[in-house]
């Protein structure tokens, strides 16, 4: 590239993208756009029209920075850009791009701010604005919290529109015709005379002009893709076994590694004897790393075999109770005033209402649970003097850079994260561990790419699980109505545990402790939700739906107990108590879909549940039948309101899968500790749901809400409650603890 060309492009860069890299202080600076990271890597003749669209002579690339763990994130992001850019998905490449503050997640801040998602007051929105600035400040390029669609919905369409109008301006510069008289279709600008110019042919010209900004978005009536089912960009590869995941990554000179870590979480090795392992075929190195040992070999299996042959002396003593009973005891002891973390809902006079009344009481438990996506965690890392390359599936590329900096001393801009497709995550790949360990190994073998693959057993043992949680409910009923509901929830803080592992803290109460409970849209005369922060126990992390995954079960099962005690109909009483119109409509929809109230055969019964989480009101009905005293899942109906359903097939698939996830774990799965170590080692210990147990699942997406929301998680919180409520309706037995198989048999 000529020096002149470079200067010209730099001028364009600065003119269109303001601050280059780094973080600026002062609130007004947060509001300025972050630098466009694509401009650092452009070749001659390439144009990066926004951080999301890159065009060169050979084609169009859409940048989809939210990671794809199977939820279809790449596809839906591409669809949103394509809607305005006027390209078809089979015309474009999709690339996750590079980690950059330009890709910060705005929607995550909405969920973190302490306001109910039903609260649109000025105060709530102002605080969300501050949180947004904080997210941008920290450059949180995070995939999670069901935020991909809400975060992208406007941003990516704007990117597509801006790129489209810039291409028209380029066509105008090239032809002298009026841009306003041009149209676009299928990757081409169509000139007033009918002549067509491909976007690729306009790239060089577009690179030299200022991007057209502030382009109005098309009216929904003009949408050609949103609201329709578009085949996923990865569907052909995933239907033919040709999709590569992180675990399939290959590069010249690569070696295979695996680790064995102290099963007592957070401790390390006192020493090890590697002589037997060193003598095994293909083994090249046995190394000490943080927490244990690593074996490097020429093949994954040989590394795993050799890791078992290393004789390790482990450190002993754990910072959490050795046995599971001790974990429950800590929770049980946490319902005390000095552990009160939040009481953001306290209406009426709960104390007075309970005084002297006939009080209905119940205690609930939800266990630790592993994420265990089917692809074991893995990462390939190469460390050289002046750069680090990481190939992995991750939800936190920016945090990985920070963690690697601490290990190798490289600067952030020397650390290149190459995001790869993930074989599931459910929150598992929000953790940096596998990349930290692969970096430690690779740093001891400069220049050699090291692929670290966890064995399934090691993945299970060192999973940072869902929180363990306990709840106590007290309530009263009168005249066929629920009068008082007082729910107290105790759990260790997920945010504290998770952020602590990357050296960060979040001030103030952890609202995940009460998420899915405190913000439910009910008016009950005396209504209180208290969160108690238990001391840290075993390491915990975000598991699909996070706090609400346990709290939706607690809140709605207890509400159901009160409704039954009042002798009211479970749907009618919930509707009577519910003030939020959009939520009421989901409950009405699910009642209508399931024909709630119809006569059912002997031994068949239904339970209903509702939970608003991640801003999505979600109502579910589960139907079970009894076969020789065992419970069989027959049918599930789900109604959820996300404002706009971007792709109805992906929406349905996501909800069906989430119901399988939620019910499978509620019925069959837990993680427990003994001797300081996780007892479950593989899927035979905790298998979730298999195909034969899967009920028929009927889905309806409602679009009454005025804000678009994501559907990765909100189907989870009500599911266990609806099942527990159905089992009660069928058997009279209240199941207040998961996994439910501890209390009843399932077919």
């Amino acid at each position: 590239m000529s020096r002149l060309g470079k200067i010209a492009r730099r001028t364009f860069l600065i003119g269109s993208a303001s601050i280059a890299g780094g973080v600026a202080f002062g609130y007004y600076m947060y509001q300025r756009p972050a630098a466009n990271p694509l401009l650092d890597d452009l070749a001659e003749g390439e144009a990066a029209l926004t951080p999301y669209v890159k065009i060169d002579a050979s084609g169009i690339t859409l940048i989809t920075p939210r990671a794809d763990s199977g939820q279809g994130a790449y596809s839906v992001q591409a669809m949103l850009i394509a809607e305005e850019l006027d390209v078809e998905l089979d015309q474009v490449r999709v690339d996750p791009g590079v980690p950059s503050p330009a890709y910060y997640n705005t929607a995550l801040a909405t969920e973190a701010a302490p306001f109910r998602s039903t609260d649109d007051s000025f105060g709530a929105n102002a605080t969300r604005g501050v949180m947004d600035a904080m997210m941008k400040f920290m450059g949180m390029q995070i995939t999670g919290g069901s935020t991909t669609v809400p975060d992208s919905f406007v941003k990516l369409r704007q990117a597509g529109a801006s790129a489209r109008e810039t291409l028209k301006a380029a066509a105008a510069a090239q032809t002298g015709m009026e841009a306003s008289a041009m149209t676009t279709r299928a990757g081409k600008v169509i000139l007033p005379d009918g002549q067509e110019l491909t976007y690729e042919s306009l790239a060089a010209t577009a690179a030299g002009i200022a991007p057209v900004q502030d382009v109005p978005l098309r009216d929904p009536s003009q949408w050609r893709m949103i609201g329709t089912s578009v085949p996923r960009t990865d569907i052909r590869a995933k239907s033919t076994g040709t999709q590569d995941y992180g675990i399939d990554f290959e590069i010249d000179g690569m070696v295979h590694a695996t680790v064995r870590l102290n099963p007592r979480r957070g401790l390390g090795a006192k020493g090890f004897d590697a002589s037997a392992a060193q003598a095994m075929p293909g083994v090249t190195r046995v190394l000490g790393i943080t927490g244990g040992i690593a074996v490097v070999a020429d093949n994954t299996w040989r590394a795993m075999q050799a890791a078992q042959a290393v004789d390790v002396e482990w450190e002993t003593g754990t910072p959490y109770p050795e046995e599971q009973d001790g974990h429950w005891q800590v929770l049980s002891d946490s319902f005390v005033e000095d552990r009160l973390d939040s009481r953001n809902r306290d209406e009426g006079d709960v104390a007075a209402a309970l005084e002297g009344a006939e009080v209905i009481e119940a205690e609930y438990r939800a266990p630790y649970l592993a994420h265990s996506p089917l692809e074991p965690i893995n990462a390939t890392v190469r460390v050289t003097e002046d750069r680090v390359d990481v190939w992995t599936g991750t939800q936190i590329p920016r945090f990985l850079q920070s963690e690697i900096t601490k290990i190798t001393g490289h600067e952030r801009d020397q650390i290149h994260i190459h995001g790869l497709m993930m074989g599931g995550s459910f929150g598992h790949r929000l953790e940096p561990r596998v990349v930290q360990e692969a970096t430690e190994i690779a740093a001891q073998m400069p220049g050699t790419p090291v692929k670290l693959t966890y064995s399934r057993e090691e993945d299970w043992t060192h999973n940072d699980t869902r929180q363990i949680a306990m709840a106590r409910g007290r309530g009263t009923v009168a005249n066929g109505r629920v009068e008082t509901m007082d729910l107290s929830i105790a759990m260790p803080s997920v945010v504290e545990s998770q952020m602590g592992r990357i050296g960060m803290s979040m001030p103030g109460p952890d609202l995940q402790i009460v998420a899915g409970a405190w913000e439910q849209p009910y008016r009950i005369p005396n209504y209180r939700v208290s969160g108690y922060r238990a001391p840290a126990l075993a390491p915990i992390s975000s598991w699909r739906a996070v706090g609400a995954s346990t709290n939706g079960f607690f809140h709605d099962t207890f509400l159901d107990e009160l409704i039954h005690a009042a002798g009211a109909d479970p749907v009618e009483e919930r509707l009577r108590l519910m003030w939020h119109d959009t939520s009421r409509k989901t409950l009405e929809a699910v009642a209508e879909m399931s024909n709630w109230g119809e006569a059912l055969p002997e031994g068949t019964a239904r339970g209903v549940a509702f939970c608003m989480s991640f801003g999505v009101p979600t109502a579910e009905v589960v139907q079970v039948s009894l076969q020789d005293g065992a419970v069989k899942l027959d049918k599930v109906w789900v109604a959820a309101d996300v404002g706009t359903v971007v792709d109805p097939v992906m929406f349905e698939n996501m909800i069906q899968g989430g119901i399988v996830w939620a019910l499978g774990h509620a019925m069959n799965s837990e993680v427990t500790y003994s001797g300081g170590a996780v007892q479950q080692q593989n899927y035979y210990d905790s298998e979730g749901m298999r195909l034969a147990q899967t009920p028929e699942i009927f889905v309806r997406g409602l679009e009454n809400a005025d804000q678009i929301r994501g559907m990765g998680e909100p189907m989870v919180p009500p599911a266990a409650a609806a099942l527990s409520n159905a089992i009660f309706a069928a058997t009279g037995q209240r199941i207040r603890e998961m996994p439910m198989m501890k209390h009843i048999d399932f077919v």
């Binding site: 040709t242 089917l374 899968g657 989430g658 979730g688 195909l691």
Partner: protein, 152 residues
């Protein structure tokens, strides 16, 4: 050791107790076969040996008794097998990691049982885990594939 995979014969030097899964993935670079559990609990490593569905993590390389077919050998992106077509039509995959094994299991079922009942499908597919929970679509896709293969 000699192995025939997807119609190609390979001459290999590996320990006879190395599971076929790892020979396919790490020695031959055939990556459609996935490691999920290593103990025949998930089915992500399912291949056909002499036409029958087998968990390749449980078959020592030295014991392979017939020609091996992997998902890449069942059909290709340009020439898809009826099962793969059905999987695409139903948009089954989410993460997709288990789906190669699911399709191999389904193809083996349909080669032996062209018109399976719902119960047959549940029985045959129950050993293949899908953590994303795509089971409702897997059931539908197996039925569609059966119809395609019967030519009705």
């Amino acid at each position: 050791m000699r192995l025939t995979v997807n119609g190609t014969e390979h001459e290999l030097e590996v320990e006879p107790d190395m599971p076929l899964l790892w020979v396919l993935r790490d020695t031959l670079g055939i990556k459609g076969v996935k490691y999920g559990c290593g103990v025949a609990q998930c089915g992500a490593c399912t291949v056909h040996i002499a036409g029958e569905a087998q968990r390749s993590c449980q078959v020592p390389a030295g014991d392979v008794w017939g020609p091996v077919t992997t998902i890449e050998g069942l059909g290709t992106p340009d020439q898809m097998h009826a099962v793969q077509q059905a999987w695409e039509e139903h948009q089954v995959a989410q993460c997709g990691y288990c789906q190669g094994g699911q399709m191999m299991q389904a193809a083996a079922l349909l080669s032996q049982m062209p018109d399976p009942t719902d119960q047959d499908i549940d029985d045959a597919m129950n050993g293949n885990l899908c953590r994303c929970g795509t089971y409702p679509r897997i059931r539908a896709a197996v039925k569609t594939a059966a119809t395609k293969l019967r030519g009705v």
